[in-house]
């Protein structure tokens, strides 16, 4: 959903009221708001970031065009940094890239996917890595930074021992625990939602 607002000429706190209303009226989406002064710009940025929305700003001939993005997990209440809810969702990574057709593109996509997972609320419960997926949890993995951050926030990271063994990288595991088929199947069965990539 996308909304366009022209808030030029509005006296303070008109621009903040306008962005508040627009964000309340959508679940997710993008609002573009046109402002004509720096103060309105600063205040709309403050409102947006306090509510977990991203903002990009472009100057247009003395006016400011702000693009504010409200994600799916954002509530109307200001986000508290210490609140990170977890849901019983399990992601299963069966390869070290995302999708078929181009390995090069797949490498870009898996990195992008894990980055975006970082931004998603509620957090997943577990990430399971199987087959070539275990190449993502070993030393020098291109996604190690993202996995580290997820692990810090309490996401469980499990790599299949058989697969690590097959690729002769068991001693290179750099994050999470080694697991076996019993645990893998148990985690998938007990999950509310399983997403396989």
């Amino acid at each position: 959903m996308s909304t366009k607002i022209d808030a030029r000429g509005l006296a303070c706190p008109g621009p903040v009221i306008a962005i508040k209303k627009a964000l309340e009226e959508m679940d997710t989406g993008v609002v573009t708001i046109l402002l004509d002064n720096k103060i309105a710009k600063e205040n709309v940025i403050k409102f947006s970031t306090a509510h977990g929305c991203g903002v990009s700003i472009t100057e247009q001939g003395g006016d400011f065009l702000l693009t504010v993005c409200k994600g799916a997990s954002i509530s109307d209440e200001p986000v508290r940094a210490d609140e990170v809810a977890t849901s019983n969702t399990v992601y299963v990574f069966t390869q070290d890239t995302l999708g078929q057709g181009s390995r090069e593109l797949g490498a870009v996509l898996i990195k992008g996917f894990l980055y975006t997972l970082l931004e998603t609320r509620p957090r997943p419960k577990t990430l399971l890595f199987m087959n070539a997926g275990v190449l993502l949890t070993i030393q020098d993995s291109p996604v190690m930074d993202h996995l580290n951050k997820l692990a810090q926030e309490g996401v469980e990271i499990l790599s299949c021992g058989t697969c690590l063994d097959y690729f002769v990288v068991k001693d290179k595991l750099a994050i999470g625990e080694i697991t076996n088929m019993y645990t893998i199947v148990e985690k998938m069965t007990m999950a509310t939602k399983v997403i396989t990539l």
């Binding site: 706190p13 103060i39 600063e42 205040n43």
Partner: protein
């Protein structure tokens, strides 16, 4: 601009415009000096009676900030006759009068003009002993800074216009309508090196005036600054008035540590209406004065910082 006017040359003039102080003081005899001040502004709340109360409290505040006692006041009124019902003006004047009575002073009369936009305030005369005048230019190294009211009236007035944070708005109105009388009566029983009231330049603007006027530097601990309820939440979501941004741009000798949340920084520059007193008191008396203030009708009073070594007018917020 004021510097372009002729400087008065009168030995009885004890406090004039040179130190940008809260009011003017003129010696009458050995035991009495007259304090003269005036202030008026456009409505900041919808209720006319409360507007009258706040405008009057604001105008009277300068007398308390000089260590004096108000004795008389005159109404300054601008009102759109014919556009707003006369009951509105009546309520404004009643609010003002009730506040002047509360201050123990008397309204002698006033003057009104027709104007599209209502404005109200008072011209106030007070008295003080010439040896006991409090100025904003006497702070000493080692002094403790005490603030007697929470800040955030500018942000909460913006919140009121956005129809948000009703509890904070109500607390702000009550705070703005509160006289600095009790605070001044308690404070003047102790040694006060310097005193000013916090109004349009915000906490840091008036702290700067005190520091510059006294030839000292100050450090202020952000987490100890008393805030009005919901002021921080309102500032966080961008209900920050233009005046706060203007004050921040103007005050170049203020240095704020980046660990201070932006919302608190904005509140430090937030223009106040009828704010509390900022007192600079000797270290040895600060605890006792704070307790006396908190128990004597000024529960929000807090120690917020110290006068330190440094460049004249420098304020460090951490």
């Amino acid at each position: 601009m004021l510097s372009q006017l002729k400087k008065p040359n009168d030995p009885c003039l004890l406090v004039g415009i040179e130190t940008a102080d809260d009011a003017g003081v003129y010696k009458i005899n050995e035991t009495t000096a007259l304090i003269q001040t005036l202030d008026f502004f456009t409505p900041i709340v919808d209720d006319p009676y409360m507007f009258g109360q706040i405008a009057a409290a604001n105008s009277l505040s300068d007398v308390y900030a000089m260590g004096g006692k108000p004795i008389t006041a005159m109404n300054i009124v601008a009102f759109p006759m014919g556009c707003l019902p006369p009951e509105v003006l009546r309520d404004i004047l009643m609010g003002g009068q009730d506040k002047v009575i509360e201050a123990g002073a008397v309204i002698l009369g006033g003057h009104s003009i027709d104007d599209k936009e209502p404005k109200y305030g008072l011209s106030v005369t007070g008295t003080v002993h010439p040896d006991k005048i409090l100025t904003n230019a006497g702070a000493k190294l080692g002094d403790v800074l005490i603030l007697t009211k929470g800040i955030g009236t500018g942000v909460l007035s913006t919140a009121a216009r956005a129809e948000m944070f009703p509890e904070g708005v109500a607390a702000s109105i009550e705070s703005m309508a509160t006289l600095n009388r009790r605070a001044a009566e308690v404070a003047t029983q102790y040694t006060i090196h310097s005193c000013t009231d916090i109004t349009g330049f915000g906490l840091l603007g008036h702290a700067y005036e005190m520091a510059a006027g006294s030839g000292v530097a100050m450090k202020i601990k952000a987490s100890t600054i008393p805030l009005l309820p919901e002021a921080a939440e309102a500032a966080t979501i961008g209900l920050v008035p233009a005046g706060a941004y203007a004050n921040r741009e103007y005050l170049t000798t203020v240095c704020i540590d980046s660990s201070v949340p932006v919302a608190i920084q904005d509140l430090c520059f937030d223009p106040q209406t009828s704010g509390g007193l900022l007192l600079s008191v000797p270290y040895g008396e600060a605890e006792a004065l704070l307790r006396a203030l908190q128990q004597g009708g000024t529960p929000q009073a807090r120690m917020i910082g110290e006068v330190i070594e440094g460049e004249r007018g420098e304020i460090y917020v951490y």
